[in-house]
């Protein structure tokens, strides 16, 4: 994964509350077999309005989305994070996120920033004309008008995002520990280790 240090640029002043993952990416997009290309389906129902903000020339390719309370609620589909990434969004700022969405976002290198409603309101206003900067190292969001808002982030997530570490890579580095567990388990619970190798079914393996 690409390291995330700062995310800087235009921020889409979206602001709507309770945007569920069905709005972020409708269910019929779930049949894809790739993570790519989902940007086309992102916010599809909102984008039926020709004046929607996502298709405005001014905000095309913006790396930041400023959203309302409880962003990403509803189904756990990871496609929501992929759809945002495919739109070019690298960070979302909101007063709160659903847990599953922020987990999925993190796993895909999207930074989720929680700020109080007043600060989000301020950003919604500024973003209409000005860029926004998120600095992960110092955990701050700043604007050209000297706004400076601090945010909290889980230290482990921060570390992974800064270093561009993905969870799979991190766990693969624990190979020795996993192998030690497997050795132990093969004595204590030997039947688990055999899995599908146990059966000669004629089902092609």
């Amino acid at each position: 994964m690409e390291p995330v240090r700062t995310v800087e640029g235009r921020a889409i002043p979206f602001g709507r509350k309770n945007i569920d993952t069905d709005v972020i990416i409708p269910a019929h997009w779930l049949k894809t077999i790739s993570r790519e290309g989902l940007g086309k389906g992102a916010f599809e129902t909102i984008r039926t309005d020709p004046d929607n903000i996502f298709d405005s020339a001014e905000f095309a390719g913006s790396p930041i989305l400023v959203a309302g309370d409880n962003f990403g609620c509803g189904s756990s589909r990871e496609h929501a994070a992929w759809a945002l990434l495919d739109l070019g969004i690298k960070a979302v700022i909101a007063p709160s996120f659903s847990d599953i969405f922020s987990g999925n976002a993190f796993k895909n290198g999207i930074l989720t920033v929680v700020l109080p409603q007043e600060q989000v309101d301020r950003l919604l206003e500024v973003a209409r004309t000005e860029p926004v900067t998120i600095d992960l190292e110092t955990q701050t969001v700043t604007t050209p008008f000297q706004d400076r808002f601090s945010f909290e982030i889980d230290p482990f997530r921060k570390h992974c995002l800064l270093e561009g570490l993905d969870e799979v890579g991190l766990t693969l580095a624990r190979d020795a520990q996993i192998a030690a567990y497997e050795a132990r388990a093969s004595t204590d619970m030997p039947w688990f280790a055999k899995g599908t190798a146990l059966k000669d079914t004629g089902i092609p393996a």
């Binding site: 990871e78 482990f156 996993i178 619970m189 688990f192």
Partner: protein, 477 residues
């Protein structure tokens, strides 16, 4: 030994800790991984892109279910029929290619063993007591019915398990749902779990793993226990668990992937220790008297919207919580129901008997017992029975159940998820009602605009006969 009394959940958890971090997060070893076509393509894609391999391919089993049409899969000459929906076909083809490419055993669409992942796992003896089991599907909790710690995961986690055979997890809290007494005649495991969700609410188990305890569960078959645990997720829990006992052990014995020989003896010895110790404490506890449970149906668009079949549609104002009142109003508008309406007068146009909740042999027997010698009502336009697996289908046919369904005017289909979710061709038309044995009555779940009433297989069969939600005890008794 003076070790601290522990819950069943903690025992299974502790047996699978690879590593414990300072913040309490654990790297947990995963014994069994089930993979289907919908949530796996991007995981395999990511492995391929990063040049990673599957750590222990023999611990994963792949089977298509969600998208597969439940109509005939072979033509008269034995050739595979094409799948009309292009995207479904593409997902199915991806699984068929990915599994062998990564060395994973694959049960194909036309194999006898094919079925819904959560039916196939236990049936094949792949899901075992005391195992950690995951699948990219929220109803993985189902496998708790054999005493496994089983839960749904997202696609990134599917990739993580494939590559490392582990997951990074924080331990959940332990909750007990204790059911005292016995279920009355005509009242099934499905009625009980619907009732439980009605009592605890869809957030009742949030952050917890629920252990279902008490004589009602001990008396249940494994099929019924799978039904109960399947819906633990609808009560907000990460997983549901029922302690393995002699019923579990005899269910597992001799199944294709069950341990054999000395391994079997050793496994059984350990499984007999898998129970919550006397004196162990739960973070949350709920007690329910089985004798108070009636055949239960849902009236709204959340699985907690339950009522006994003899009851009425509630008035939104009857709920204390204003947000629940709001939700109930929206539910009733969507469902086209009026407060005070008798549930037994609600007409249904569709009946679906199937899904990982209720498509095992016992479920089909229960439905057939009601349908035998009867026919579906004229107002029921579409009624299908979809066995959970090819083996369930074969067993049902050997018992002549298919003939009972067909004689009653129901369709007898090939195994798959079918009308449980509007992803394959089996859908409930907009504005129409369905008495469904599945697990979710969400808005649009069975197709855009569909109205779902969750019921047991016997109650679904009764609804097919009368054309309305019906107390099955009026028909058989």
């Amino acid at each position: 030994m003076a070790s601290k009394p522990t819950t069943l959940y903690e025992k299974i958890w502790n047996a699978h800790v690879v590593e414990r971090r300072d913040d309490g997060t654990c790297l947990i070893y995963i014994d069994r991984h089930l993979v289907h076509e919908v949530t796996s393509p991007q995981a395999f894609e990511a492995l391929r892109m990063s040049g990673r391999t599957v750590r222990r391919p023999e611990l994963t089993l792949a089977v298509p279910d969600h998208n597969l049409p439940t109509t005939a899969r072979l033509d008269a000459a034995g050739h595979r029929l094409p799948i009309a929906d292009k995207e479904s076909a593409q997902q199915l083809a991806a699984l068929e290619q990915n599994a062998p490419q990564f060395g994973i055993r694959y049960i194909g669409a036309t194999d006898r063993e094919q079925g819904i992942v959560h039916v196939v796992g236990p049936e094949q003896g792949f899901s075992l007591p005391g195992a950690t089991i995951v699948c990219g599907d929220s109803h993985t909790a189902c496998h708790g019915g054999v005493g496994a710690l089983a839960f749904g995961i997202g696609t990134s986690e599917v990739e993580h398990v494939l590559a490392t055979q582990t997951l990074l997890l924080k331990q959940s809290k332990a909750m007990e749902v204790k059911v005292t007494g016995a279920l009355g005649p005509g009242v099934t495991a499905k009625d009980l779990i619907l009732h439980i969700i009605g009592v605890i609410g869809t957030a009742g188990g949030t952050g917890h793993v629920i252990e279902f305890r008490g004589p009602a569960f001990e008396a249940m078959s494994i099929e019924s226990r799978l039904t109960v645990c399947n819906m633990a997720i609808e009560g907000g829990a990460r997983a549901g668990l029922i302690a393995p006992d002699e019923t579990t052990i005899s269910y597992i014995k001799g199944r294709p992937y069950a341990p054999k020989g000395a391994d079997w003896d050793k496994a059984v010895e350990w499984w007999r220790t898998l129970r919550t110790d006397a004196g162990a404490t739960f973070d949350k506890s709920v007690t329910i008297d089985a004798a108070t449970v009636e055949p239960t149906v849902t009236w709204g668009t959340s699985p907690e919207d339950t009522a006994p079949i003899g009851g009425t549609v509630p008035a939104p104002e009857s709920f204390a919580d204003p947000s629940k009142q709001e939700a109930a109003r929206a539910s009733l508008a969507y469902m086209g129901l009026e407060p005070g309406q008798k549930l037994s007068e609600v007409e249904v146009q569709n009946v679906f008997i199937g899904s990982c909740t209720n498509s095992r042999i016992e479920d089909l027997r229960a439905a057939a017992a009601v349908l035998k010698g009867r026919t579906k009502a004229a107002n029921v336009k579409w009624a299908i029975v979809v066995p959970g697996s090819g083996l369930v289908k074969a067993q049902a046919e050997a018992e002549g159940l298919d003939k009972v369904f067909i004689a009653a005017g129901l369709e007898w289909r090939e195994p798959g998820c079918s009308a449980c979710l509007g992803m394959n061709p089996d859908k409930v038309p907009a504005g129409e009602r369905c008495a469904s044995t599945s697990n979710r009555n969400f808005v649009g779940r069975q197709g855009p605009g569909s109205r779902t009433h969750l019921v047991s297989p016997a109650m679904a069969a009764a609804a097919a006969v009368t054309g309305r939600l019906t107390d099955v005890r009026e028909l058989v008794g």
